[in-house]
């Protein structure tokens, strides 16, 4: 640039990029702040839970039954009840949910009824869990005559989990590029073989992740089991037709006892429940990232 101010050529430094740089800085600071806030919140929550709860954790707290009118002892029947429920929900919701997701994503023509079905499933995910509890009580406990039992609770929680599993399966299947299906079909695969050999195995990490997330949510729910068979106290469940204790309900009921407070049981239960679900999620997340590492389309 000459002093005379008469520019003959324009070079890159003459372009004004200040506005763009400022906008970028603002976006960066804003998103980073939100991210840090979330991390602090999670760390605080888990840290507080750990500090309050870790003192209660002992061999006998985990493997004993409640004693002294629920003010002492352990939570083993509740842990077993929750494990039963996880098992039952897996047995009902996984096969039905995954099969429905496969049907919606791969088999159904995109017709009006199918679109309505998809809307219905999305709505199902939005139904409050206490409504599921009421429905489960009316349908499974009374109409099907299952009474207050692990089975009735498992079926109710399976309903809560179904939309999550279906949506996760459908989404995971949609992630698989059309080119993969075309490649398999062009090699002389039937649709079933294309699905079984290429599409499903590739989508599996996504499907399992979604299913486990749904399962964790179900395992932590209180409202759906409230009317369908959860017990204030019950011995370790050995039969799915019995009522049973469960961790979230135990936590709720122990925290709301007006006369005989036992805060160490409440915090200990909270820590055990959170720990169980966190470990499951961490294992699944690690497995998935291992599986996905090579899947960059």
């Amino acid at each position: 640039m000459t002093k005379a101010g008469k520019k003959t050529t324009i070079t890159f430094s003459d372009y004004n990029s200040k506005g763009a740089r400022r906008a970028e800085a603002i976006v960066r600071i804003f998103t980073a702040t939100c991210c840090v806030a979330v991390m602090v919140l999670v760390a605080f929550l888990l840290g507080y839970l750990f500090i309050r709860g870790v003192g209660s954790i002992s061999w006998s707290f985990i493997f004993d039954s409640p004693q002294d009118r629920m003010t002492g002892g352990g939570i083993w029947p509740a842990i077993v009840g929750t494990l039963w429920l996880i098992g039952l929900v897996s047995a009902f919701a996984m096969p039905v949910g995954i099969a429905t997701g496969i049907y919606l994503a791969e088999i159904a023509k995109q017709s009006r009824p199918v679109r309505m079905l998809r809307v219905a499933i999305a709505n199902m995910a939005g139904v409050p869990s206490v409504v599921y509890g009421l429905f489960g009580f009316a349908a499974f406990s009374l109409a099907f005559g299952l009474g207050k039992s692990l089975l009735a609770m498992g079926l109710t929680l399976a309903c809560v989990t179904l939309p999550v599993v279906i949506t996760a399966t459908e989404e995971a299947l949609r992630q698989i590029p059309t080119e993969q299906r075309q490649a398999a079909m062009a090699l002389g695969c039937t649709r079933a073989r294309t699905l079984g050999k290429i599409v499903l195995p590739t989508a599996l990490p996504g499907i399992i992740t979604g299913a486990i997330l749904g399962l964790s949510r179900a395992a932590g729910e209180t409202a759906p089991i409230l009317f369908t068979g959860v017990a204030f106290f019950a011995p370790v469940a050995t039969d799915i037709m019995q009522p049973s204790m469960a961790l979230p309900y135990h936590l709720y009921i122990m925290a709301t006892q007006p006369t005989t407070p036992a805060p160490h049981i409440v915090w200990g239960t909270a820590l055990v429940l959170t720990g169980m679900l966190s470990i499951t999620n961490a294992v699944i997340a690690t497995w998935r990232s291992h599986k996905r590492r090579k899947l960059q389309w």
Partner: protein, 267 residues
Amino acid sequence: MVTAQRQESSQSGRFDIENVSVSYGSEKALQGVSFCIEPRRVTALIGPSGCGKSTLLRCFNRMNDAIDNVEVEGLIALNGEDINAKAVDAVSLRMYVGQVFQRPNPFPLSIYDNVAFGPRTQGVRKRDELDEIVIDSLKKAALYEEVKNSMKKHAFELSGGQQQRLCIARALATRPGVLLMDEPCSALDPISTGMIEETVQQLKEIMTIVMVTHNMQQAARISDTTAFLLRESIEEPAELIEICDTNTMFTQPSDIRTENYITGRFG
């Protein structure tokens, strides 16, 4: 079964196409196409974007079946047999008429398992038989030397050009008599393109090749016969303008529209 196919494939692979039209829903994309594809030659389909080259190519292995609303009319006979007849199984048709796609699309499996996929679909289970097919197919696709020590490597670790040659090997492993190639080099660098063109030259000794290409130089370099398709306006379906020997097409095209296209006046 495999030997039977091998013999058959060295004898034929001829398409007779009579008055073929394709519509997407109510919109006619392609109309009144008639020509024949000679066995063991490379036939190039050229024309500007949207002229129905790929649509026509997908008719030859009935990949249009998988797309909703597509209707194919007219007669397409492969070795004298109508491939759209009720009795014809699209699955076995596609084992005989292989396809290589525009962008490399290997499966998320090892190199070996990618190539072995087709034969396994056909029921080949014996390890030594599979090994033989895999090695033979990789050699034909000019990839064997580069991967012979890493057959267990994940296919996604290969470069784009290698992945496309892997896809060619995978298509060859079903022992096809016809290989359809839909712009197989459009996502590749010139060196990879050269290798694939060389492969095509060798493959035509044993099978019929139909290649869609955007690249007229490529058509001129490697094809024996060239078909020029053109959609003259948005309202009209595309048509086959001219088909003839590639040399004739590029030196003395008989239609003025062909001449305009290949001399670069449009498209």
